[in-house]
Amino acid sequence: MSEKIKKFMYLNRRAPYGTIYAWESLEVVLIGAAFDQDVSLAFIGDGVYQLLEGQDTSESDMKNFSTTYKALGDYDVTKLYVEKESLEERGLTLDDLMPLTWEDEDDDWAEKDSIRLVSRAELADVLDDQDVIYSF
């Protein structure tokens, strides 16, 4: 039985460790990825901190789930929108974030960037185009 593929957007708005939202979002994304839908993630506000390079929880007694973002490509989750304004407000650039890539099987497994830097206005259009939005 084939149903219409829907566009699912997971909107990540919170920093990674102070609350459970970021981790919960990842869990839901990974579950949702099994259902062959069109999945996108967006990182706005403190959500951009989730992708900061070099997270190390060895002295904090918390799980470092940041490595999981690197596995998203293997689950065909290849569209990670990062809002430019949110980075700038926090004094960050793309260079401060983890390099996240996926391999395109339709293009001889070429490695491609998963992160798409977008302006707030551009992201508003992306959100407008979605069927379902989950906010974390």
Binding site: Y17, D46, L52, D56, S58, E59, N64, E89, R90, G91
Partner: protein, 101 residues
């Protein structure tokens, strides 16, 4: 009376840091921990406010910085990194603790 102010919320999600800075007097200390450590980064939208707090000494908890990927070079000038023992020492050295939760 010397006061240790503690801030554990992101300055972009709550106004805890801004409120704290409004009340932190000369000679007091501000310790950032948990999501509060984002307030210790250089070049962000609150860095100027932190830098403008004259006579206030700023500290950040090392393990919380490390967990969040905030390395020494990402820290604003004048932020001293402390461990849990340093946290306790600050609490003891000051007359009281004001927690801006």
């Amino acid at each position: 009376m010397s006061t240790l102010h503690t801030v554990n919320k992101s300055p972009f999600e709550k106004n805890s840091l801004a409120d704290c800075l409004g009340y932190a007097k000369e000679g007091s200390a501000v310790l950032m921990y948990e999501d509060g450590v984002y307030g210790a980064m250089k070049g962000n939208a609150v860095a100027e406010k932190v830098a403008a707090a004259s006579g206030v000494k700023f500290y950040a908890l090392g393990s919380d910085l490390k967990a969040r990927g905030i390395s020494q070079e990402k820290l604003a000038e004048g932020i001293e990194v402390v461990d849990y023992a340093g946290f306790v020492k600050l609490a003891v050295e000051n007359d009281k603790v004001s927690a801006w939760v």
